[in-house]
């Protein structure tokens, strides 16, 4: 593993830590005062700092250090995390995230932003705890300006003393050294050839507690026949530590494939067989790397030891305070260890591998369907053993597919967390007070969907803050809380994920929207539109109600882009608004973009698949229920209400004249606006799960068609884009090139 890979892992971990940090701060903001929440926040910043130190990311280390110092005041109850304090901390979390991004992708964070926050953080740390300054070895006030002026931690004076009390640590380690592990460690030649050093790993291990060690030299050959670069030594170690087994193993994280390693809790009898006298090491002479003893992110410690670019200055500056800070963190972690362990073990897997697996399973599903079909054709009764076996195979295939899909499923939490930053920043910019409430953030959905909803969601949030919520003055005048609320929620509903964005603002000003639409030639001046239709105008291309184009939104390329992005994901978006009370945007998205439950239908001799989620019901129209409306329109009467009838074959230009509705089947579908349409097809073949194959990737986009699939008989069937067909039936005809002969 080279340095870049290690660094990449560090950045991945940073992302996790930043998410942890933000979620912790938001919890504190909501009044959570659980010490573990504060500890988690502190640990996140501390880990980022530790890793950044290993890679010589000085700006990041410097800022993280100041942030960590202030957080520690909260942790030691010297600073009450009230709204004002948290506002600074949330901003600092944003800057920290930016610093991480800049460290990874290049670029720099505006110095003024960093400096301002460093000052604010230091003011918080100083102002609120005068007693701490007195206790500290150096006056914090003296250190503060130096840190503000020189963020790079090359100068010891750039760091504030960390005002902890360490009672119970150092002199009284026995109290916290609860676990004893027997460790057997035998490196391979590769461990050394990759630049790792067993001595450094042993040193890190010794820092976790009291260590006794026995070197096994049995395999060392005679001097003349030895290979100087081979690995002969192995070790039996007994470690008494406050750390968990996982934390002990983490020391070997970067070497685990290049050594034989066994870590197990010690058994009493073994102690008798192998008496070991613990000798506490004085390791000060060995410190050549960054001092991160018992760091909460041991993963980066190993990296640190092999990293040649670590500045000794950083190590020297951080070391003393750090070791103490880490010890305190360790104690706090000890309590949390159980909770953290139960959070579940995870492995990092390259996304390409997962996608390959998903593709293969897709092929398996198709193959299984083809096999089933040929067996059914040869076994009319369906009672043969092969047929029964196939049914089991079908079930198994389905289960495998679900499980594989679950690998790609991720909670929407990271996206939601990103939104809270956007709300903060935009609200600050426009001088509004807005609270973001999130719900159902653990709802899981395919990673592709998560990656792609972030952008439209960001736009909608910006819109909600800029246009949706009124200014505090207007809100007060309307008798509302001056602080607006935006609620972002996610939930599963009938095989789809439903994301709702609700604001308690003024709602859509329909008069203004309509006027704007008329001004922009989107509708005729005398058009008679329902409220819902007016609301939906905001999704029209080129529509913007903002009289003044702002930095935030109102460039006129807003909601139509949002709508297109959502539609590209196979999703729908709708809006409902109440004047004076706010608006709700509802996005309904598929849980996965790889498979689909569909109804296989025949239209003009072609086989099409209609997504099952769009279908409300199917019915066989009677002649008496069909009514003509105008020259070409037909309506079907369903339970005393009329619904437009759409001949799919005609819309897609499969045939030149409309089919007789009585001879076909009507699929009642719900369109994005909530309105219903009856889609006429010739016959229903059945219902099955189909694997989605992108038409765009394999051919080109075809209007009215969402994607394609391969059926059990090996033929390609097109998957109908219900919303596009419904839209076409409203008069927005599909483009001429959509006249196509369906592949058969």
């Amino acid at each position: 593993m080279d340095m870049n890979e290690i660094k990449e892992i560090f950045f991945q971990e940073c992302e996790e830590q930043l998410a942890e940090l933000e979620s912790g701060l938001l919890k504190l903001n909501d009044g959570d005062r659980d010490p573990e929440t504060v500890n988690a926040v502190f640990r996140a910043v501390h880990s980022i700092k530790g890793g950044a130190g290993a890679f010589g990311l000085d700006d990041l280390v410097a800022f993280a250090h100041v942030f960590e110092t202030t957080l520690d005041c909260v942790r030691s109850n010297k600073l009450e995390p009230n709204q004002d304090v948290l506002k600074v901390m949330l901003k600092s979390a944003d800057v920290l995230a930016d610093l991480v991004t800049c460290s990874r992708d290049g670029g720099s964070v505006e110095e003024s932003r960093t400096k301002t926050l460093v000052k604010e953080l230091e003011a918080l740390a100083n102002g609120e705890m005068p007693s701490a300054a007195a206790e500290a070895p150096k006056p914090a006030a003296k250190a503060a300006p130096a840190a503000a002026a020189a963020p790079a931690p090359t100068d010891d004076s750039g760091f504030q003393p960390i005002p902890f009390t360490f009672d119970g640590f150092g002199g009284d380690e026995e109290a916290v050294l609860g676990n004893v592990f027997d460790i057997s460690f035998k490196p391979t030649r590769e461990l050394y050839s990759k630049g790792n050093e067993a001595a450094l790993l042993l040193r890190d291990l010794s820092r976790l507690g009291e260590m006794s060690i026995a070197c096994d030299m049995d395999t060392l050959p005679a001097f003349e026949s030895m290979d100087p670069e081979a690995s002969y030594f192995g070790w039996k170690i007994s470690l008494k530590t406050a750390k968990s087994e996982d934390e002990v193993r983490a020391v070997f994280e970067f070497a685990e494939w290049d050594c034989e390693l066994d870590v197990k809790p010690a058994e009493a009898s073994e102690d008798e067989e192998q008496p070991m006298v613990p000798v506490p090491f004085d390791l000060s002479a060995l410190d050549d790397g960054p001092a991160e003893p018992a760091a909460p992110a041991p993963a980066v410690v190993a990296a640190a030891e092999t990293a040649s670019n670590v500045t000794k200055a950083v190590a020297a500056a951080v070391e003393k305070k750090e070791s103490a800070a880490a010890a305190a963190a360790a104690a706090a972690q000890n309590n949390a260890a159980a909770a953290a362990a139960s959070a579940g073990q995870t492995i990092r897997v390259d996304l390409d591998r997962v996608d390959r697996l998903i593709n293969l399973v897709g092929e398996l599903v198709i193959n299984q369907a083809m096999l089933s079909q040929s067996v059914i054709e040869n076994d009319a009764t369906g009672t043969s053993a092969v047929n029964m076996g196939l049914e089991e195979l079908q079930q198994l295939t389905r289960e495998i597919q679900d499980s594989v899909m679950a690998i790609r499923a991720q909670p929407v939490k990271p996206v939601f967390q990103r939104m809270s930053r956007i709300v903060r920043e935009v609200a600050d910019m426009v001088g509004k007070q807005i609270r973001l409430v999130t719900e159902g953030e653990n709802t899981e959905v395919d990673k592709t969907v998560i990656d792609k909803i972030a952008e439209p969601l960001t736009h909608m949030i910006r819109n909600a803050v800029d246009h949706g919520i009124e200014s505090p003055e207007k809100r007060e005048a309307a008798g509302k809380d001056p602080e607006g609320t935006i609620k972002l929620s996610a939930k599963h509903r009938s095989g789809r994920i439903l994301i709702e964005l609700q604001d308690d603002g003024g709602g859509i000003n329909r008069e203004r929207v309509k006027q704007k639409a008329i001004d922009n030639d989107l509708i005729a001046p005398d058009a008679n539109l329902t409220d819902e239709e007016i609301d939906n105008l905001i999704f029209a291309p080129g529509f913007s109600t903002a009289d003044q184009i702002s930095d935030i939104s109102g460039r006129g390329v807003g909601m139509d882009v949002v709508k297109r992005s959502i539609q590209a994901l196979g999703g729908r978006i709708s809006i409902s608004s109440k004047p004076g009370q706010g608006s709700i945007f509802t996005m309904s998205l598929p849980l996965t973009l790889a498979v689909l439950d569909g109804m296989v239908v025949t239209v003009a001799g072609q086989t099409l698949v209609v997504p099952l989620t769009a279908i409300v019901e199917t019915l066989q129209p009677e002649a008496s229920a069909i009514h003509s409306f105008g020259a070409t329109q037909r309506l079907i009467s369903i339970r005393n209400s009329f619904c437009p009838l759409v001949d799919v074959g005609r819309i897609l230009n499969f045939r030149s004249t409309q089919a007789n509705p009585v001879e076909g089947v009507a699929l009642l579908v719900e369109s994005e606006g909530g309105g219903q349409r009856a889609l006429m097809v010739d016959a229903i073949q059945g219902q099955r799960q189909v694997v989605i194959k992108s038409l765009e990737a394999n051919y080109t986009h075809v209007p009215g068609i969402a994607a394609a699939t391969i059926l059990g008989d090996g033929r390609v069937a097109l998957i109908l884009d219900v919303d596009a067909v419904v839209a076409a039936s409203r008069g927005q005809s599909l483009k001429p090139e959509m006249s196509l002969a369906a592949t058969g």
Binding site: S206, I213, A214, M226, A230, W235, V277, V279, A285
Partner: protein, 97 residues
């Protein structure tokens, strides 16, 4: 930097005894086989396990030859690392500590 001969029968260890140094040290000691040897460890700042392996194997070989193999003026870093990896630097044998 390879171990260099400071005087007849004396080998001064390089400050950094890493992977690269192991072969050089092994080669150096091979040329001195059969004579008493003094290892000067005063300049050592860092010791890797592979160099420790060479030294331990060397000590055993010299002992078998009934020649003396002495470590002199061991630096703090040398002693502590040897202690850390479980080797008695005075005797160059495994030591349970």
């Amino acid at each position: 930097m390879a171990a260099k001969k400071a005087a007849s029968g004396t080998v001064a260890l390089a400050p950094v005894l890493d992977l690269n140094e192991a072969s050089a040290l092994h080669g150096k000691l091979m040329t001195m086989r059969g004579s008493d040897i003094v290892i000067d460890a005063s300049a050592v700042e860092r010791v890797g396990v592979q160099c420790a392996q060479v030294l331990v194997a060397g000590a055993a070989a010299w002992q078998a030859d009934k020649k003396s193999f002495m470590i002199e003026k061991a630096s703090d870093a040398f002693e502590k690392t040897m202690q850390l990896i479980g080797i008695d630097p005075d005797k160059m044998v495994a030591k349970e500590i």
